[in-house]
Amino acid sequence: MSHILIAEQVLNGLQFGVMLFLMAAGLTLIFGVMGLINLAHGSLYMIGAFFAAVVAGWTGSFLLALIAAMAAAAAAGALVELVVIRRLYDKDHLDQVLATFALILIFSEGTRWVFGSFPLFLDIPDALSGPVTLPGGIQYPLYRLVLIGTGLGVALGLGLLITRTRIGIQIRAGENDREMIAALGVDISRLYTLVFALGAALAGLAGALVGAIQSVQVGMGEPVLILAFVVIVIGGIGSIRGALVGAILVGLTDTLGGVFLPELFKLFMEPSAATSVGSSLASMAIYILMAVVLIWRPTGLFGARA
């Protein structure tokens, strides 16, 4: 196994992790600030991808498609918060899970009615397509490098927003004590809508960016949602930094596990059995990681509370 292949797989893991972060950041903010388990977050990811595909089809501009994806997901997020989620803050988690699961079904079938049952076309813009040669002779798709850069940029921006701005202070205060900041005159319901729309916009952005190299289809958000939950549990609920570290850990574990575990088993098993056992173990790798982290730190890596 060459160094080039290993370096390429590390980049792949990083890119996967960074995209997971965009999903997990919104999820962890919403859970941290509002105490709400939002299963419909994957639907917002799907909405982002579908609007990006449609706008890219109309205008031919990928940048406009990204903006449309964020705007559409944010609008859908705000609408859902105002109409449904708002009634769930005082309810227990089971009610929240039921209601947001219903939202998944509504969004999926609604999307199918509007856009049809067949996957949509969304492609990488010409300027970003094709591979580039990195130092060391690694051939790597330019678009994936752009994804890594974008994701890290968003992480930095979000970090600054949370730590350096007035809104960030309110969000952090809301996580700690929502009655107190309401008593201090902060309009808590406006803040909640804002946080929800922000999380939705990030999910929409992730959907649009990833949609260009994957299939834009109904139900695309749910597999990512499960991984995003793993990420926030590992990172610690409510922590943006935890979401970033958790996402990159999950991305690397998943990618490298899938590649190297079958190779490892080939050292002492016959190839086809090794492939089969290695692949099965690789699909469990992130859940094993989660279990280990939870045994070591029950609140997650950066979690403040259980």
Partner: protein, 377 residues
């Protein structure tokens, strides 16, 4: 979500004392969620054939299984016990077929499969009331292996999802491919990112790639493969290149060779009429799934015309005779009630704005399946 449409071919039988025996068909297929495109194509092809037959004695009840085995089983129970259907059809996915078909045939119902063809139902688990009108699951992969030989590929990298149909796929390819393997990978079912696998392909020294990644998985793989700069020839079964998903893959699929038992340019009058009438009625090109639905319905119509469904022996003989005009040209059943048919190699081309397939040759002729010998009926 759950909707029910009661489709009567051309109206209720009104004539008092009409002698024609009514046949009730229960269609359980996937009409919502991610895999809905396949079920919709099968349903539309099936209903088109029923409509064109002009028969008013075939009643079709359609239900959505949501791609969930438990729901498919509930629907089958309901159709058999309260709707009293005579014939069941429609299931797309092999795991759902395994949950429904053995129970249905054991209760004396006929099952006509328009898609799923798991090996378990073709060999030891075959049944006299189970007919597969599409293919045995391995068939298209075997044809891909045969095509790779004739295209001169000697070292293939092969990959498929880690689930029973994925294992059948790689087994089928290896059964016919004579070269050596540069690598063999099982990916996760539902995986959407193939960067890690593509890097392994690049490093493996292969001269060709075979993949079985149905639906969205194939769209993702092909787009990422095209962008990776790896330009080895790709071979696959038609499931990643059907009419429903080619538009979503776009230019990334151009020139890829895939294997199928059907294509819109198979030259016979039935097929030409099917393609144009399907396009006229539904405003889109038919896929292989639509052709399978259409053939299944025509098989049923031919049997209904020849025998009374109440006489199971005669009805079974009428089905086995396969006395209908298939979109595939000649069509006959092997001893295990699976098709014996020609499987073609197709190439993805662009016609105007539309991506579609063109036949470039025959991969396997009069091909049966590897399990027929195990079937004792």
């Amino acid at each position: 979500m759950k909707f029910k449409s009661l489709a009567l071919a051309t109206g209720m039988i009104l004539a008092a004392g009409a002698a024609s025996a009514e046949v009730k068909v229960g269609m359980i297929t996937t009409l919502s969620g991610g895999g809905a495109g396949l079920g919709i194509d099968v349903r539309d092809g099936f209903m088109l054939a029923i409509e064109q037959s002009g028969r008013d004695d075939i009643e079709v009840v359609i239900e959505d299984d949501q791609r969930k085995p438990d729901i498919a089983v509930q629907l089958a129970d309901k159709m058999i016990q309260s709707e009293k259907v005579d014939v069941l059809t429609g299931i797309i996915w092999s795991n759902l077929a395994m949950a429904v078909v053995p129970a249905a045939t054991a209760q004396g119902k006929f099952y006509l499969s328009p898609n799923a063809g798991p090996s378990a139902l073709a060999g030891k688990g075959c049944h006299e009331n189970y007919f597969n009108v599409a293919w045995q699951n391995d068939n298209l992969h075997e044809a891909a292996g045969a095509h790779a030989n004739s295209a001169g590929h000697a070292k293939s990298f092969i990959l498929a999802p880690n689930y029973p149909a994925g294992k059948d796929a790689l087994t089928g390819y290896k059964r016919f491919f004579e070269g050596e393997l540069a690598g063999e990978i099982y990916t996760k079912l539902g995986q959407t990112d193939y960067a890690a696998e593509i890097a392994q392909i690049r490093a493996s020294g292969a001269d060709s790639v075979f993949f079985f990644l149905p639906g969205g998985m194939g769209i993702s793989f092909l787009k990422q493969y095209a962008d990776s700069g790896v330009d080895l020839p790709v071979v696959g079964p038609a499931f990643s290149f059907d009419q429903g998903i080619l538009q979503a893959v776009g230019g990334a699929a151009l020139g890829v060779v895939n294997t199928s038992q059907w294509n819109k340019d198979i030259d016979n009058a039935t097929n030409a009429a099917f393609v144009s009438s399907f396009q006229e009625k539904y405003g889109r090109l038919p896929s292989l799934y639509a052709s399978q639905g259409f053939d299944t319905a025509n098989l049923l119509v031919s049997a209904v015309a020849a025998a009374d469904v109440g006489d199971a022996g005669a009805f079974r003989d009428a089905l086995r005779a396969a006395n209908f005009d298939s979109t595939r040209g000649d069509f006959s059943f092997g001893p295990n009630h699976h098709p014996v048919q020609t499987i073609y190699a197709r190439e993805v081309i662009q016609e105007g704005d539309v991506f579609t397939n063109k036949i470039i040759g025959k991969a396997l002729e009069n091909h049966s399946d590897a399990y027929a010998g195990d079937c004792k009926m």
